[in-house]
Amino acid sequence: MSFEVVLQSIFSAAFIATVIRVSTPLILPAMGGLISELSGAINIALEGVMLAAAFTGVVVSGFAPQWFPGAPEWVYALAGGVVGVLVGMAMGWMIAFFHLELKTDIILTGLAMNILAAGGTVFLMFSLTGDKGSTSTLDSAQLPAVQIPLVNNIPILGTLLNGENGAGYNIMSYIAFVLVAVIWVFLYRMSSGVHLRATGEMPDAAQSVGINIRRTRYWALVASGACAALGGLYLSMGYLSIFQANMTAGRGFIALAVVYLGNRNPIGTLIAALIFGTASALGTRLGTMAIPPQLVEMIPPVVTIAALVLYNIRRRARLNAAARRFQEQTEAAHA
């Protein structure tokens, strides 16, 4: 296996298609994490929400044909998606309720949600399907892919716009990118978004002008749950078509890291999610070659750490440069 082949496979339209597929379940929960973080209520339950929503989507779309037979396939998929999002919003609301009304610690509350989701999904899966590992026995629906017409005949563009097999990206990938734009507009161009940012940065100031901090954080956590749920639904109804125990594999936590790596704004968060997605995709590519899988699996976290280190080195360099400039200025001024 030569180095050239590796490079070839990386710099290809197919690779970019993979990056988009792998990044989708990071972008969606990261947007949720961003909203709650900016409102001043950190949501560390993104992982648990994703897991619960992924499970709900599969179960609802899998059992719906038995309950309401005769409807077209897309209705079951939609039902799974809608109920999954509702479960995510409910979990966000519960965190908000415990934290804001009962004054529990938000980190511990989020942690509890994660544990609840991890155990609860396996328990319910076993109760419903008799299997503890996955729902492979359940015929669940998938969310549709959106194919852009006519471009498949154009060699590179076809792969780029419609993925490797030309079937188009899952609708959730489109939602993810649209969501970034929507959230940007919301945060910087709409008063409720501005209120949300003010609440997170300076709660006293927000309160003193009549912004309801509690209500803002409620909505932020509920919206955060909805976004994370979309990410979870993509995993079990798009990326795969089954639910597996712990199938999120830490993506909810990575999404949270992505928010900070992205400097707590939507565009930065999107870029950070894509960097991480690229690293994961790279891992998958190299996994097909004769490289020990342990090394390959290390790539995403190593890239994340490297990105953080680079970011901080650059920041410090900037600080030092500023300090030097300033020292020179004062020395010049008083020479």
Partner: protein
């Protein structure tokens, strides 16, 4: 005609039993400037928080323009035309001035913000009321005086007819204060009513039409300003005469204790906070550091005490370089520190008085013997220090949390003074402390100086710096712009010129 605002028999008892207001009657006439004065903790701020809906009275009524009103939250207060400028500015640092002014009731174009309109409104208000601001500047990059103008504009934008200014001059230089007074008078000329909270009597006389005086949560006087003297108001405030004059023998300068050379500090944010700072502190003198808050005083103290690393420069204590060392090493070199932020850096709130008194020396004999703490030695020390420093509490095992601000500060003073330092750094040592404890701290600082210790006093209270210091270093934008000999010839206005950066001594930069 009924008064604009009448507060009748307002009482406020906090859940922890503190009575902040007791049967307070307070009335403001339309179009007047009404000063509300009293010491720290007299209940002024609480009364105004009740009026602004931030606190609910335990009982009592509020009447506005002759009708009874309920004010459950600030939102309602704003609707009723009441605006408040808080002592701690309620501004979002990363937002622009225009964004802050319209926050909460933004002009919109359809579903979206109308940002051009926000800027236009800001410029219009700024012009109408003569309050100069730059609408597109971010709050974090603007000086304190401008932030205050933003706060006032914010209330005007919301249609306030009654403005409550909570200690507005506390953070201003004398010149900025004058500008504020001009603006306040202009507001009243345009039909607004102003409640001016302060504890500075000079300001009461200068700006107000009438004055209400509070002490210990009750009203002790309600007079027309023209009818009384400053001394009259002072008597109503404290119930006894205040001695601001401090007896001090002439300075006997000893050796150089602390040498600070070319000290520079750049904050995390990349903003330089200290620039090429040079000074010496001698044994037997108090060197005061004056300046509007936020001009590097906090950073100077934190760098000197090892709480932050210096970016450049050198600090020597009795000839030994200490920069870059840990706070403990610096303490062992003979530096004691009364920190500015008492609750964060000064004490452990959930530990006892005795524990707080031993925290810098617990690992040395007699407090530790053969690796084990000696509770008896710790107890003995606590009892002795509590007596010596007049700390009033249930006993050495009382939790810090249960103490008043004044007694808490006495615990810190007791610990720092008993450490027998060569250099004592006191940052805002009397902030939020009652008059009795303030006098005590002042006396103790002078006593240390007379013993031949070096004292570095950093305070935002210019009167404090001027009445205690032998020399005064003035900081502006992270630099020391002048080191002045204190004496009868030195006036507040003179220092104010330095504080505002209007005047600087080039000599202040070199060797002193």
């Amino acid at each position: 005609m009924a008064a604009l605002v009448e507060m009748k028999q307002i009482s406020k008892v906090y859940p922890n039993g503190v009575v902040a207001n007791r049967n307070v009657d307070f009335a403001v006439e339309r179009g007047e400037i009404h000063a509300l004065v009293g010491e720290n903790g007299a209940g002024k701020s609480t009364l105004m928080k009740v009026l602004y809906g931030l606190e609910q009275p335990t009982h009592g009524e509020i009447w506005l323009k002759g009708a009874r009103v309920e004010i459950p939250n600030p939102h309602r207060a704003i609707e009723l035309g009441i605006g408040m400028v808080h002592q701690n500015f309620m501004l979002v640092p990363s937002f622009t001035i225009a964004e802050n002014i319209v926050l909460g009731s933004e002009p919109r174009k359809g579903r979206f913000l109308d940002r051009a309109q926000a800027i236009a409104v800001t410029e219009m208000l700024s012009k109408n009321y003569g309050l100069q601001v730059d609408p597109t500047a971010r709050i974090e990059a603007t000086p304190v005086g401008m932030r205050q103008r933003v706060e006032i504009l914010k209330t005007l934008y919301r249609g306030a007819d009654l403005l409550i200014l909570d200690e507005p001059t506390a953070v201003l230089t004398p010149q900025e204060t004058d500008e504020l007074f001009v603006a306040v008078r202009k507001l009243v000329d345009q039909g607004k009513t102003v409640i001016f909270i302060t504890h500075k009597l000079v300001e009461v006389k200068e700006i107000s039409d009438r004055v209400t005086v509070m002490r210990h949560g009750e009203v002790t006087g309600r007079v027309a300003t023209a009818d009384v003297t400053e001394a009259d108001i002072a008597r109503m405030m404290v119930g006894r005469a205040v001695f601001l004059q401090i007896d001090k023998p002439p300075v006997q300068r000893g050796r150089v204790v602390a040498e600070v050379r070319n000290l520079g500090y750049v904050a995390e944010t990349g903003r330089p906070m200290l620039r090429n700072v040079n000074f010496d502190v001698y044994a037997g003198e108090i060197l005061g550091v004056a300046g509007v808050e936020g001009n590097g005083q906090t950073e100077l103290v934190e760098v000197m005490t090892g709480l932050r690393p210096a970016t450049t420069g050198e600090i020597r204590i009795d000839g030994t370089p200490v920069q870059g060392q840990s706070a403990r090493r610096i303490r062992l070199s003979g530096v004691a520190h009364i920190p500015e932020d008492r609750l964060t850096n000064g004490v452990a709130l959930d530990a006892s008085i005795a524990e707080n008194l031993v925290v810098d020396r617990y690992n040395r004999p007699p407090f530790t013997r053969r690796g084990a703490l000696s509770p008896r030695a710790i107890q003995t020390q606590a009892v002795a220090l509590m007596q010596q420093f007049d700390i009033r509490a249930a006993g050495p095992t009382a939790l810090m949390r249960s103490l008043s601000g004044g007694n808490m500060q006495k615990v810190i003073v007791a610990r720092e003074f008993s450490a027998e330092p060569a250099l004592l750094i006191a940052a805002q040592p009397t902030r939020g402390v009652d008059i009795g404890a303030t006098e005590f701290v002042h006396t103790q600082l002078v006593a240390k100086r007379n013993e031949g210790k070096a004292v570095l006093l950093v305070s935002a209270d210019l009167a404090e710096v001027m009445s205690l210091s032998d020399r005064i270093a003035v900081m502006y934008k992270g630099e020391i712009v002048g080191i002045l000999e204190n004496g009868p010839h030195l006036t507040e206005e003179e220092i104010g010129l330095y504080m505002l950066g209007l005047k600087r001594d080039e000599g202040a930069r070199g060797e002193l």
